[in-house]
């Protein structure tokens, strides 16, 4: 087990490098100049030159690449162009908000999505299944930021139940500010997760050992939780990685809807404010997130599927 995890960690090194290279290259090699993209194509040439010099875009590409990797390795991303704040500070301030939003959203989606998926599979073809499938379809079709805006209109402005803006100060207030944003992302994710759980359960419920377990006289509940769910968990856990990442990317728009601080807000604000170093640092953070989540999925996969850790698969 430990060996498998170590192996995955070593495998992750080139993936991290590739992802960092992708971010680096996309910002520089794609047609279009980040300086022009940031300042607009009518900016005077001197202004563009000054900008390039200030953020180091006038150095040779290999030199920029080495500097970029050094920044990532040391966690020192330089300073914001707009107000000279150290970017590391900005990241540290905003990261907790994004983490708590993504974390709670994932928790909500697990608590709602998996049970709905199970009920849907067990009641296959009957009314609860139809309702659950409708829920799954709705979650795919309603954009998360629209759902967030609807929640805000109804629960925030119409009923005046929940705070509509900001991240809150102090623990109780902060949790209160988390309810609507986390519920928005959580519900959309729960819809996806219910679809996934349903199909994974239907797949498993077909097998002979389920019939055997039932024939032994085990209760339906026990058959579902002990026999079916455990085996259905493998595709679900693999899928959860994708959903955590979609919650993370969903947090970008949701932070904007609810004017919450966070990495997404920081990133979009920086694109608008033409703050190139922050843009690069935040996108890098998101890219590293992607790698870490994928790595966690690999490890979780090994924990629930013994064949992977003993190397049979």
């Amino acid at each position: 087990m430990g060996r498998y995890i170590l192996q995955r960690l070593i495998d992750a090194v080139p993936t991290v490098l590739l992802s960092l290279t992708l971010v680096f290259a996309a910002l520089r090699i794609l047609p279009g100049d980040p300086a022009v993209a940031m300042l607009g194509d009518r900016a005077p040439i001197e202004q563009i030159e000054a900008f390039r010099h200030k953020v180091g875009l006038d150095q040779s590409l290999p030199m920029q690449y080495v500097n970029f990797l050094a920044e990532v390795a040391t966690g020192n991303f330089g300073r914001s162009l707009a107000n000279d704040t150290p970017i590391t500070q900005l990241l540290a301030d905003n990261l907790p908000y994004t983490l708590e939003l993504t974390g709670f959203a994932t928790l909500i989606s697990l608590l709602i999505g998996i049970p709905i998926g199970i009920i849907s599979a067990v009641a296959h073809g009957r009314l609860p299944d139809h309702v659950a499938r409708l829920f799954g379809l709705a979650g795919y079709c309603i954009p998360d930021f629209f759902l967030g805006a609807l929640f805000m209109l109804y629960f925030g402005l119409h009923l005046d139940l929940l705070p509509v803006m900001g991240g809150g100060t102090g623990f109780p207030d902060r949790m209160l500010h988390l309810v609507m944003p986390a519920a928005t992302i959580g519900l959309v994710m729960a819809a996806f997760l219910s679809r996934l759980t349903r199909s994974a359960m239907l797949e498993v419920l077909r097998f002979d050992y389920i019939r055997t377990a039932r024939a032994k006289g085990l209760s339906t509940w026990l058959v579902i939780t002990k026999h079916a769910l455990r085996n259905a968990m493998i595709p679900i856990v693999t899928g959860i990685g994708i959903y955590i990442l979609s919650a993370l990317s969903g947090s970008i728009a949701i932070e904007l809807v609810f004017s919450r601080p966070g990495l997404g807000q920081l990133m979009i604000g920086a694109v608008e404010a033409r703050d190139f170093p922050i843009v690069q640092a935040t996108i890098t953070m998101f890219a590293l997130f992607v790698v870490v989540v994928n790595l966690m999925v690999d490890v979780a996969y090994a924990v629930i599927n013994p064949r992977v850790r003993t190397g049979e698969a």
Binding site: V36, C141, I268, V271, A287
Partner: protein
């Protein structure tokens, strides 16, 4: 099996037409396309004309969906915004589909080192959430319609490569491919005449689902201010504008959100129906 696969295409479309859900989806899509294409005929009001005297009105006979904080007619903005949303929604998967199918088929047919290299890049791109790729491209190339199409195509290409490659790998095993080669056909003809027609089904399914995703992502990017730039309307930036005037009027948000949901729903259901229609085992059952 291979004998039944050749006429599968025509009967699949036939099955789609006979199926009520598929028919409804096609009707909704046709209606949305017609409303978008002929937007100036249906909505006379200029979608960018401001009129502060008629700001933040609820729906009325003159302004079916009301007006926004600048007094612009929302109905007209939704129809004109639909042009952008559907244009991006369809062109990004189309572009990605053409490139992805070509690369995927070649990778699957040729195999070897080229195949492994392509799949490595595909895995890397697939790991990134599409929205993040969109933000990355917008940051590098600037916001705007053309760059959104490029960003979304980049996000979708790996999905098409993967499905085209997998389908090619399974088709390549079929005896009729070997037979075609044995009759002396060149590789290019084998691919064009025998491989492509037999893998088009799964690619169309992915394509239809990607149109749904593409409409959703374009709306999200425009909502973030990285897509269609104001004053041009798009479904995403109508909601963005609406967020600044929530107390004044909820109508822009609701109308635009419903439009996105409806379009995504129609293309998503169409994808599901196509998937059923192209699956011979399911068709026989019904």
């Amino acid at each position: 099996m291979s004998a039944t696969m050749i006429p599968a295409r025509s009967t699949a479309l036939g099955a789609l037409r006979r199926d009520p859900v598929g028919l409804i989806c096609l009707c909704i899509i046709a209606a949305l396309l017609a409303l978008a294409i002929f937007a100036p005929w249906f909505a006379w009001a200029d979608p960018t004309a401001q009129n502060v005297l008629r700001a933040s009105r609820p729906p009325s006979a003159a302004n079916w969906f009301g007006t926004d904080q600048f007094g612009r007619d929302i109905f007209s903005r939704i129809l004109h915004g639909g042009r952008v949303s559907l244009l991006v929604g369809i062109s990004a998967p189309l572009l990605a589909g053409l490139v992805g199918t070509l690369v995927g088929v070649v990778a699957g047919y040729v195999g070897g080192l080229a195949d492994r290299l392509v799949m490595r890049v595909v895995d890397l791109l697939m790991a990134f959430p599409s929205l993040l790729l969109g933000v990355l491209v917008a940051a590098a190339m600037g916001p705007g319609l053309r760059n959104v199409v490029i960003a979304l195509s980049l996000a979708f290409v790996p999905r098409f490569i993967r499905i085209a490659r997998a389908s090619t790998l399974s088709v390549r095993q079929e005896p009729y491919i070997e037979a075609a080669r044995a009759t002396g056909l060149r590789h290019r003809r084998v691919v064009l005449r025998h491989v492509l027609p037999n893998i088009i089904g799964p690619i169309l399914v992915v394509g239809s689902l990607q149109v749904a995703t593409s409409i959703r992502l374009e709306a999200t990017l425009s909502f973030l201010g990285l897509g269609t730039q104001p004053p041009s309307p798009s479904w995403g930036n109508i909601i963005r504008d609406g967020m600044n005037n929530m107390l004044g009027s909820p109508w822009p948000i609701v109308a635009s959100g419903v439009a996105i949901t409806l379009a995504v729903l129609a293309f998503n259901m169409l994808g599901d129906q196509l998937s059923d229609a192209f699956d011979p085992t399911r068709r026989r059952k019904s």
